[in-house]
């Protein structure tokens, strides 16, 4: 059907971008799993929200930096211009950063309060929103609409 040909020089920047994006989504999944679990497991709530905060600080944010740096690198190599799929990528990445920073602050507050209540629920909601947004970005990056 198709011959998928990509210049060799694009491969490493693409690897950095994709690896960063995969770790970013993986770390978000860990954060949502432990925070949701904290809301249902009273005894473990404090430990789990501390883990969620560390996951955001040491997993999600560094992965985001790798993903975003890789995106700029591959975009400059490809001279890709501004088609809509690139716009979707930038919108989810840049909007996502704001949500990540808010979620990190909320997770810190949740951890200080023992892990239960409104802050933890807000972290779950924000990370769920981020995962859905990055799902849309994955669709845009693979199908490249327009």
């Amino acid at each position: 059907m198709y011959a998928i040909v990509r210049p060799d020089g694009w491969n490493f920047p693409l690897l950095v971008h994709v690896a960063g994006a995969m770790l970013l989504v993986g770390a978000l999944v860990v954060v949502i799993a432990v925070t949701a679990s904290a809301l249902t497991r009273g005894g473990d709530a404090a430990v789990l929200t501390r883990l969620a905060f560390r996951g955001l600080l040491l997993g999600v944010i560094p992965s985001y930096v790798v993903m975003r740096a890789g995106a700029e690198w591959i975009a400059s190599e490809e001279s890709v211009g501004d088609p809509s799929w690139v716009g979707i990528g930038y919108a989810t990445a840049d909007g996502g950063l704001l949500l990540i920073l808010i979620a990190t602050g909320l997770a810190w507050r949740a951890a200080r309060r023992g892990g239960r209540g409104g802050y933890a629920r807000a972290v779950v909601a924000l990370t769920a929103l981020l995962i859905v947004a990055y799902g849309v970005a994955i669709w845009a990056m693979t199908s490249k609409p327009a």
Binding site: A3, I4, V25, G26, V34, T142
Partner: protein, 128 residues
């Protein structure tokens, strides 16, 4: 969207699920008992669903795209790496049920290295 675009999207989505499962396994192996209780079910579900998805959709993609053959070296390498990662994943799940943190770390390292090599193989497609 064409069939190729659907297959590619779902194949890549499955790879994200696989890495999400691997990340969850990493957090539960390196974390304490609370992390283990919270993360064991999603880690196994994501790893298994992602692993099955990448294999089935990857083979379907190889059959769909004229430029690829299942006998291509990079595709055979990917299948071998998938088998290594899946084997280590199965052993890790068993180790976590039975205890044995040292063995779990080694199995996690094997899963991580095989998955990274799989990603490198998919991006660089050596010999394609």
């Amino acid at each position: 969207m064409s069939l190729y675009e659907w297959l590619l999207f779902l194949h890549v989505l499955a790879a994200f699920l696989l890495v999400a499962g691997l990340t969850a396994y990493g957090a539960l192996v390196l974390g304490g008992d609370a992390a283990r209780r919270a993360l064991a079910p999603p880690a196994m579900a994501l790893w298994n669903a992602g692993g099955l998805g990448v294999l089935v959709l990857g083979i379907w993609l190889a059959l769909e795209v004229d430029a690829y053959e299942l006998s291509d070296g990079w595709i055979i390498a990917a299948i071998v790496l998938w088998l290594v990662a899946s084997g280590a994943g199965g052993r890790l799940a068993r180790t976590l049920r039975e205890g044995g943190p040292d063995k779990a770390r080694v199995q996690l390292a094997v899963m991580s290295l095989a998955t990274l090599a799989l990603l490198i193989d998919m991006v660089f497609k050596p010999g394609a």
